[in-house]
C-alpha cells in the first residue's frame, strides 16, 4: 500500500504544479497586456479612447474605441440571441427524442461542428452570405454587421447545444423515471421539467457562448468590412478583435498606435474575464 501512497502524492503534486502553471500563464498574459497598454493610458491622447473617431496615424491622433466596442457587443449579443432558441430546441430534441447510439452520434457531430476552424466559417459566410447580400438592393456591399451576426450565430450554436444537452441529460437522469411513472408526455417533461430545472445552466451556457462570440476574430473579420463606424444592422462595422488582428501587424513597435491596440485588447480581456467570473458564480449557485 505504501507504494500507492507515494504515487498518489506524486500525482497530486504534479496536478497542483500543472494547474499552478496554467494560472501562471494566464497571469502572465494579463500582466503583459497591462504593461503594454500603460504607455497609452499615460499619454495625453488617452482621453480620446472614449470617442467615436479612430485615427491612429493622424496629427493629432485619436483613438476612439467606441465604434469597436459597440460593434463587438452588437454582433456578439445578437448572434447569441439568435443561437439560443436554436440551441435549446436542438439540445431538447437530442436529449428527449433520441437514445443510445444515435444520441451519442448526434452529440459527437455537434462537437465536431465546434471543432471546425473559424476561417472555414468565415469563407462560408463570405460566399453564402456576403455575395448574395451584395446582390440585394439593401446594401451596396455585402460585408455587414448582419453577415457577421449570422456567421457568428452558426459558430456558437454547437457550444450552446453541448452545454444544454449535458444539463438536460442530468435532469433526465434524476426525474425521467418519476415523470414516466406519472404518465407525463415527453413534450410536457421537456418544457415544464428540463427547461424549468435548467434555467441557470441555460444562462451559463448562453454566457459561455457569448464570450466565445465576443472574442471571435477571423470569421468576423472576413465578413464585417472592418470600417470603424457605429454599428448598423445593414452597414459595415468592426469588432475589437478584428481591429487588433487587422492593425497589429502593421503598427510600428512602441508607437502609440501599438500601445492603443494593447489597450483595446485589455478592454476585451476585462470583458471576457468578467463574463467568465459571472459564469462561475452562476454555476456554483446551480450546483446548490
Amino acid at each position: 500500500m505504501k507504494k500507492y501512497d507515494d504515487l498518489n502524492k506524486f500525482v497530486k503534486h504534479l496536478s497542483r504544479f500543472v494547474s499552478f502553471f496554467v494560472f501562471l500563464i494566464l497571469s502572465f498574459i494579463v500582466l503583459y497586456v497591462l504593461i503594454e497598454s500603460v504607455p497609452f493610458i499615460r499619454s495625453e491622447f488617452s482621453r480620446s479612447f472614449v470617442s467615436l473617431s479612430w485615427r491612429p496615424l493622424s496629427t493629432p491622433p485619436s483613438f476612439g474605441i467606441l465604434p469597436m466596442l459597440l460593434g463587438t457587443l452588437y454582433v456578439a449579443i445578437f448572434a447569441s440571441l439568435i443561437a439560443f432558441p436554436v440551441a435549446v430546441g436542438c439540445a431538447g430534441a437530442i436529449s428527449s427524442c433520441f437514445t443510445g447510439k444515435t444520441k451519442h452520434m448526434l452529440l459527437g457531430l455537434i462537437d465536431m461542428l465546434a471543432g471546425i476552424p473559424s476561417v472555414v466559417y468565415g469563407l462560408l459566410g463570405f460566399y453564402i452570405l456576403v455575395k448574395p447580400l451584395e446582390k440585394t438592393a439593401l446594401m451596396a456591399t455585402g460585408e455587414s454587421i448582419l453577415a457577421a451576426i449570422i456567421t457568428l450565430a452558426l459558430m456558437i450554436v454547437p457550444y450552446m447545444v453541448s452545454a444544454f444537452a449535458k444539463a438536460f441529460e442530468r435532469t433526465n437522469e434524476n426525474y425521467q423515471m418519476s415523470a414516466k411513472a406519472l404518465g407525463v408526455s415527453q413534450w410536457y417533461s421537456l418544457t415544464h421539467l428540463s427547461l424549468a430545472h435548467c434555467k441557470l445552466d441555460l444562462l451559463s451556457g448562453f454566457l459561455v457562448a457569448l464570450s466565445k462570440a465576443l472574442g471571435e476574430t477571423m470569421a468576423v473579420m472576413m465578413v464585417i468590412g472592418n470600417s470603424p463606424l457605429l454599428p448598423k444592422l445593414l452597414g459595415k462595422g468592426i469588432t475589437i478583435s478584428s481591429l487588433i488582428a487587422l492593425e497589429m501587424g502593421s503598427a510600428k513597435l512602441g508607437s502609440l498606435h501599438y500601445h492603443a491596440l494593447y489597450t483595446a485588447g485589455m478592454l476585451l480581456l476585462v470583458l471576457l474575464l468578467s463574463i467568465n467570473g459571472l459564469v462561475r458564480l452562476i454555476e456554483r449557485r446551480a450546483k446548490k
Binding site: A140, L229, G249, S250, H257
Partner: protein, 302 residues
C-alpha cells in the same frame, strides 16, 4: 523520499531541456568564419511579395535540395527556408529583432527604422505601383478613363458618396471604397502620394490583404480601390486600372516615375550576411529571380 526524488528528476529534465535550447542558440551565433550549418532561414514581410518569392524558393530547393550542392564549401544539410506574411512593418520588426534573416518590404524604409538596425542593408528587387482600379462592368470605363488627383481625393475622403457625384452621367449608386489597413505599407504610399493631409474616409472596407482587396473589386461592380500593379496583372481582365492625372499605369510610366503612386519592392537585412544567406540574396537578384518577379506581374529592377 521517492516523491522528492521524482520531483527533482522532473525539474532536472526541464532544466536540461532549457539548457540544451540555449546551447543550441549559442552555437549558431558563435563562429562566423567557418561555414556553419545555417538551420532554417526565415523571411518575413509583405505577403504579396512572399507569394512571388515562394515560387522562386521552391524552384531553388527542388533544384539543389542540400546546401553543399549550391556550393561545395557549404555543409551538407537540407535547404530549409520559410516565408511568413504579416506585412511590411512586421518584416522590418523581424529584421530588427533578428527573428528573420530577410524582410520583404513594399514601401520605403523610414530613417527611424534604419537607425534601429545594427547594420542597415537593403537590395531593391523591383517596383510595384498602386493602380486605381475598378470592376470591368463599372460604367465609368465608358465615360471617363482618367481621374485627376482632386477627383481621387474627393472619392477616397468620402466627399463623393455616389458615382453620379463624380460624373452626372454615371448611375446613382453608392461608391464602395476598398482600402488596406490604415497602418500598412500600401496605405502609407497612397496617403503620401495622393491624399497628403486629407484623411481617407472611415466608410471603407479594410481588406486584410492585397488579394482580398482585388477579390472585392472583382466581385463588386460599385467598388474602387488601390490595387497593386502586380496583383492586377495576375487577374488581367477581371479588374481594370484607370489612369491618374492622364498617366496610365504601364511598366514604362512606373519605371520613369511619371506614374506617381509607386512603391519599391525591397529586401531588408541586418548586419553581415552568412554565406548561405548571401547565396539566397544572389538568387533573388539573379536573372531567374527577375524573371519570376516579372512573370508575377511586378516590374523587375533589371
Amino acid at each position: 523520499m521517492l516523491l522528492k526524488k521524482i520531483i527533482s528528476l522532473f525539474l532536472a529534465i526541464i532544466f536540461m531541456l532549457g539548457a540544451a535550447g540555449c546551447a543550441g542558440d549559442n552555437k549558431r551565433e558563435k563562429n562566423d568564419n567557418a561555414i556553419d550549418p545555417i538551420g532554417q532561414i526565415i523571411i518575413t514581410g509583405s505577403p504579396t511579395l512572399g507569394q512571388v518569392l515562394t515560387q522562386l524558393i521552391l524552384e531553388f530547393t527542388d533544384e539543389y535540395g542540400t546546401w553543399n550542392r549550391v556550393d561545395p564549401l557549404f555543409p551538407n544539410e537540407p535547404i530549409d527556408i520559410v516565408i511568413n506574411g504579416g506585412g511590411s512593418t512586421a518584416g522590418v520588426l523581424a529584421v530588427i529583432d533578428k527573428t528573420a534573416s530577410f524582410g520583404l518590404i513594399s514601401r520605403n524604409v523610414s530613417e527611424d527604422e534604419k537607425t534601429k538596425l545594427d547594420r542597415f542593408g537593403q537590395s531593391q528587387l523591383g517596383v510595384d505601383a498602386l493602380t486605381i482600379s475598378v470592376n470591368p462592368h463599372n460604367p465609368i470605363l465608358e465615360i471617363q478613363q482618367d481621374l485627376s488627383q482632386d477627383e481621387l481625393i474627393k472619392l477616397f475622403s468620402g466627399e463623393f458618396t455616389h458615382w453620379d457625384d463624380l460624373n452626372p452621367a454615371l448611375p446613382h449608386e453608392e461608391i464602395v471604397l476598398v482600402t488596406r489597413d490604415i497602418g500598412g505599407g500600401a496605405h502609407e504610399v497612397f496617403q503620401q502620394t495622393i491624399m497628403s493631409e486629407i484623411e481617407v474616409s472611415l466608410n471603407t472596407i479594410q481588406a486584410p490583404s492585397m488579394g482580398a482587396l482585388v477579390t472585392k473589386i472583382i466581385d463588386n461592380e460599385r467598388a474602387i480601390g488601390y490595387a497593386s500593379f502586380g496583383v492586377v496583372n495576375q487577374h488581367e481582365g477581371a479588374i481594370i486600372p484607370l489612369s491618374v492625372q492622364g498617366v496610365t499605369p504601364t511598366k514604362e510610366h512606373i519605371l520613369s516615375g511619371d506614374y506617381a503612386i509607386s512603391r519599391p519592392i525591397l529586401i531588408l537585412y541586418n548586419g553581415l550576411l552568412k554565406p548561405q544567406e548571401q547565396a539566397l540574396l544572389d538568387l533573388f537578384l539573379s536573372d531567374q529571380g527577375m524573371r519570376i518577379i516579372e512573370a508575377r506581374g511586378f516590374i523587375p529592377i533589371r
